[in-house]
Amino acid sequence: MSNFQAFDFRTKFGSRYFPSPVFTASGCAGSGKELSQFFNLDELGAVVTKSISVKPRSGRATPRMAETPSGMLNSIGLQGPGIDQFLEIDIPWLQSKGARVIVSISGETVEEYASLARKLRGVSSLHGIEVNISCPNVENRGLVFACDPSASRAVLEAVRRNIGGDYPIIAKLSPDVTDIVAIAREVISAGADGLALINTVLGMVIDIDAKRPKLAGVTGGLSGPAIRPIAVRAIYQVHKALPQIPILGMGGVASGRDALEMIFAGASGVSVGTATFGNPTAVIKVKQELQEELKARGFNSLVDAIGVAHA
């Protein structure tokens, strides 16, 4: 019987459906143009854009990266053209290619997040907004929003208030906290529809020849397979506490098996980030392999597989 049924790969975040649960990760797919030489963007569940700010940002000085065992550090510093140019150029291009777009936003103050939400409110063709709160809060000694429950709440409330009621909001959390479930509860009660887990882990490499930090920005964000066990743990913990909330899992996904681990832990979808640097077609590979792994285990739909490791 089940062999004849069509496999249902769809997933849902907030009010939006996506034909497949494999997305790009913010900041790891350029503007989309760079990857479109390798595959069609409409093959992806969604393109999650790099985090966009109110104004243009140069980002940090170089060196901006260091390879680490099964991972890498980056300190890009949110380089980007600012929201206006982004809405004018990048979004229309992505949509012209049939890509479903989730815009990631970042700010240095709660008001900046609010202002980004107001700009995006009008763009109803978007599939959602991912709120990157792993940014230093200039109004509070540079303390990262995502590390402070009340600052996290304030950002999400401001975004929800300004963007309108049914616009899907995904709050992206940092793993660098004592209690990620507590932060998750705050942002959900503040109006987020879903959670993105996890952003990079704060790390550092010393250049032992130059006798100083390798990165110009001193510390950087650790990503790649090295952090996957941390991501799976965060997803599992949060899904256990908030089983109804859709989670976009990420952190070192490079194969269908990696993606399945996150789905079983409780993710409704996965983003592929660093793996794209080693393999331009990683997102497509993950998508195809995930579907095969699910079918091989007798699942007729993605949804049936979400969180099964909790049984």
Partner: protein
């Protein structure tokens, strides 16, 4: 405009791997990948095998690319075993396969008229210059070349490569080959002697900066192939940026893998390692 318009990803076979001085000269059977490869373009290779802890590709300038030949298309590289990834690559045996993405990045611009060109390479930076010399020669240009390195073994200058070069000058810091000193020590003399109208360079950033200074002083156009740590090589990660002026003179952090590696030297803000140059678009206040 498309980005990476010609790039292909494929598993390619090692046809040959020979130690030459401090380097390995490697030839790969790449099929159609060679068709669009131009001097200045680079390849990005996955290193370490299936369970590698090295998750990022390594970039190598294309030394030569050919479409004809017994093995179909081939791409040749000159590999310095620097850290663990390039060491791994340099240890590959004939018939082994590696995953390659190429051609990537910009190529050296070829003048439409015959000109007097000076090509300057540092270390393995000479690699792309020989293919360039061939093309320039075939277009009727005069081609002089300066190759510099710390020591003789680190100069890559194969015999067959020299065919297209009118005069080759070597410099080594320890004096073990050619003149003792740096490429810039002989540069002005040669510019004058050969009435150089166009400079191409490839090598470490400090060398490019020094060459650029001489070029600007001499008011000669200078195309250089820059090198910044790259995580992806295809423009998606923003790690490889260098500060460069755009058409309107605004300094922006631009990707050396997409806007480069070959860029107009006059656009580059040299010496800005570990800091954002003042006035850069979007610089932190």
């Amino acid at each position: 405009m498309n980005i990476n318009p010609k790039a292909i990803q494929a598993s390619v076979e090692v046809l040959s791997n020979k130690k030459v001085g401090a380097y390995n000269h490697m030839v790969f059977a790449v099929g159609d990948m060679a068709v669009h490869a131009r001097p200045g373009n680079f390849v990005a290779i996955a290193v370490g095998g299936p369970s590698s802890s090295m998750i990022l590709r390594r970039a190598f300038a294309i030394y030569r690319a050919s479409n004809r030949g017994a093995y179909g298309g081939t791409i040749e590289l000159v590999v310095a075993a620097h850290g663990s990834g390039s060491k791994w690559l340099s240890e590959r045996s004939v018939h082994e396969k590696v995953d390659m993405v190429a051609p990537l990045g910009t190529a050296f611009g070829i003048p439409t008229e015959p000109v007097n060109a000076l090509l300057i390479g540092g270390g393995y930076g000479s690699a792309p210059l020989f293919g360039l010399a061939e093309i320039l020669k075939s277009r009727g240009c005069r081609v002089d070349m300066i190759l510099g390195a710390s020591t003789a073994g680190k100069i890559y200058a194969p015999l067959e490569g020299k065919r297209s070069v009118n005069i080759m000058t070597l410099t080594t810091e320890d004096g073990s080959a050619g003149e003792k000193g740096r490429v810039t020590d002989v540069m002005e003399k040669i510019i004058e002697r050969s009435q150089v109208e166009l400079i191409y360079s490839c090598g470490p950033m400090p060398m490019l900066a020094a060459v650029n200074e001489v070029a600007e002083r001499s008011q000669i156009i200078h195309q250089c192939a820059v090198e910044e740590s790259m995580a992806c090589g295809i423009g998606v990660c923003m790690t490889c940026v260098i500060p460069m002026r755009d058409e309107s003179g605004v300094i922006k952090m631009q990707r050396s893998c997409i806007e480069g590696p070959v860029v107009d030297g006059a656009r580059v803000v040299f010496g800005s390692d570990r800091r954002i140059p003042e006035g850069t678009w979007g610089a932190p206040q």
